[in-house]
Symmetry: C2
Subunit: 552 residues, 2 copies
Amino acid sequence: MSLFEKHRAIIERAVQANRERVFFAQYPENPKAYAEDANAAGLLKFQNSMNTDFSELEQAQPLRFEGEEVSPYLQTGLGIRYPVFADKIVVERAKTAFQSWRKVSVAERAGILTESLERMKERFFEIAYATMHTTGQSFMMSFQASGPHAADRALEAIAMGYEELSRFPAETQWVKPMGKFDLTLKKSWRPVPKGVSLVIGCSTFPTWNTVPGMYASLITGNPVIVKPHPKAVLPIAIVVAELQKVLIENGLDPNTCQLSVDTSKFPIAKEFVAHPDVKLIDYTGNSVFGNWLEAQSILGKEVFTEKAGVNSVIIDSCADLKAVADNLGFAVSLYSGQMCTAPQNFFIPEGGIETAEGHKSFDEVAAALAAAIEGIAGHPKMGPGVLAALQNDLTADRVKEVAKLDAKILVGSHAIVNEEFPETRTASPVLLQVDGSQEKLFEKELFGPIAIVIKTKNTADSIRLAKQLAQKHGAISCGAYSTSEVVMEQIADEMASVFVPVSFNLTGPIYLNQHAAFSDFHVTGGNPAGNASFTDPNYVNRRFVWVGQRYA
Amino acid sequence: MSLFEKHRAIIERAVQANRERVFFAQYPENPKAYAEDANAAGLLKFQNSMNTDFSELEQAQPLRFEGEEVSPYLQTGLGIRYPVFADKIVVERAKTAFQSWRKVSVAERAGILTESLERMKERFFEIAYATMHTTGQSFMMSFQASGPHAADRALEAIAMGYEELSRFPAETQWVKPMGKFDLTLKKSWRPVPKGVSLVIGCSTFPTWNTVPGMYASLITGNPVIVKPHPKAVLPIAIVVAELQKVLIENGLDPNTCQLSVDTSKFPIAKEFVAHPDVKLIDYTGNSVFGNWLEAQSILGKEVFTEKAGVNSVIIDSCADLKAVADNLGFAVSLYSGQMCTAPQNFFIPEGGIETAEGHKSFDEVAAALAAAIEGIAGHPKMGPGVLAALQNDLTADRVKEVAKLDAKILVGSHAIVNEEFPETRTASPVLLQVDGSQEKLFEKELFGPIAIVIKTKNTADSIRLAKQLAQKHGAISCGAYSTSEVVMEQIADEMASVFVPVSFNLTGPIYLNQHAAFSDFHVTGGNPAGNASFTDPNYVNRRFVWVGQRYA
């Protein structure tokens, strides 16, 4: 049985879910849904991988081994070294692998790629610990985001690719009536892959942000070079290794998907980008490098970016202010604001808001938010788990720098005691208060646990500011609270016009930071926060070209 | 009844044909399929429009009237002047119209746009004469290309847009099981148009090359500014005027689609391109300006181009050499090589080719092609109709310059006597012969009636050269003749790898120059001949962004 036949049911359900955009998760997000001993076994495997050379890749003759990952929980190096290759060799190997991979049928590619996700699933716990000790995420987020959620995002890319690549007939008889006779041609159409694909990972979501581009390029027939962030390699190294094993088992070239690790001192991304045979580039990271990458499109590169954005919350009115504040406090605190979807700017009218419990002044709304943030950070059990760790010192420094800003500090930052890992790099969220006129202070992304309450003239002013920021600096998410259908539609329409998705009136255990595979288009691709979206049709269609043949 | 309901059957059949890629033509290409008096009435209307100001546009307060069209048949000015507007005013009006157009449902947009094609149909003959006397095409090509074929291309864009904009549900209930309870969100998705669209026309196919971008932008909710070539305005002016009438009848802003005419002396395209609110740009024309436009993508513009290409024919072997030569001779001669799909380079092995009638030497193959070309040009009845007229003097000059090249002249150029229009600007096709090593001579597009026979080492060498040219300089079409399935697949595969469609073994009345709506993707978008394709999914999907909303 081919791998396509083996996984046909999964692929078809994924295609269906992708069309319907209803809830669908191939991989359960609850760790308890997996084997009882899987957690302990995964932890042990992770521990055993520390201070060793990563030897699972099927890539021959490395130049040397290098590694520089540091656990944000232990604040010591993991001691794992990865094989390093010359960039030219990596591209040459990709080009060789391209010649066989492009000829594998779309269905078989889908089968092989889905099989690799099934293998990845066997290592979700190990990937979770690897993620935790590179990104600083909590165990639970590490498990969910880097394991099942990432695998679902990868499956979504497979499904979208499978659908798009199959949408036109492979061949047909074209019969044109000419009156006295018919003209007949056999016509065929091939989806032709564009070429070598480079996927550049980030330090905070090493699999979740990497696998969509990786699997989208692979399903469309392109060979992939994964260039992880040098501080967050292990999670994606495991994924690539598992895929390479499946490729070999199926008689294919493991270099169809290669890992190419670099170091902070000698970054390699620009060499790959400059290579004429590299045609596709996926990137998650800062806007400066992302903008440079986008400009490479004039050299014929197809570039897919997720960069920085400034996410807003517009508070117009609500039923239960405490429920709103609790939800938003959690959204700010989760992984210490190191999600690209975390809210930063909270726009509140100076005249306050209406609630089911009566009018609440601006100060009361701000105080509710402050209390929610302090409540999480100050909670000895909840705090460490929700806030987790800061991935790097730059984020910690940014929190300290906030004191210098011309803003009222509603909530100051302090360290969080993590009993399990006393060395954890932490900083509880700060909450600042500024006026709507102080745009310079809040117009840029302040990545990390930094939130700002902004006093606006009224909701129209809040919308104007949120829209303007999204247009100029990008936005990936937006929260809004209103009891008025008219205001809600106004916010949805205005924010959609700058290509920002809005989540309305979220309370309880669902947060605007969370974007689900098969349902939420993550990053719309329409504003400066990024030019691509997980996973809209463009995300796969830009990776190949339809070419027709006609036969008399 | 809404216009969508009125045209529902047409739209649904077009969507279906677009999926199946079988033969489909909503608008018959045979002039006899139309009313008996339509031709005479169209001619009269065209004649009456000469030496007048074009007053059909529903665009208020022109600055002045200008026009510079010259008939290639009469070599006198048409004397038609068009309203001229300040570019900033045109963009402002587009932005105003955008606010209402974007809120019209996709179905209603499809209905309105299809209605405009039905109105255009009523003016096919008038458009044909307008095309003839601006482009120099024959009456038959003018009728077919600017009338029914263009309308079918427009309908194809409507169909692809309708399908893509409807592919995700407008809203759904998203229910995530959480074990003890379910999380429920209402989710909705909107296809949000990108903004003002500029469509820049060319002088040779003023409607066929303009309506795809125009209708693709309109169906996706964007307002359009059509900037025609100043030498070929009337055909598309009629189309825009008809659409504006339909918009007004339906209570919509006629500025949803504006015509903005400029002059050779004061071109306006760059002003539009530089305008920050112009987000989409469609262009057909020379590569220098096309490449500059593509570079504007770094300013956040979505650019769709069709530029120059060098089209090859690979002759490996065939059944009937005369039938092949006749077909290719016609392809070279049709509209004097002024089609972007016309073949230029004919690669023939130095050792000759095998045919059903035995071996034919290189010289015999070249001679057969020469005879076919001479046969058409020298035929007093067929010649003038097939060759038609040269659109401009630059093309005529280019033909003269050919004598200076280091190439053997197999067929020289001469004037063609057109009895109906003695002043017609003509030049019969030249056929040159060069060696495969003289790449500098044949690597660039020599637009017009110039064909080159190239002596190669063998078919592998022919393929190598054709592929290399396509990769470096672009190609829109490719012809190939072989009796070997293996060689055919090799050519299909190699040319597909540089994103060039191949037509195999065409003889009789079907030519590689012809690309049909609903079936042939015109320009693949994968090589330097252009970055877009009529009409693949990218052609519409790049014009809007999916934006989601979530409601608790």
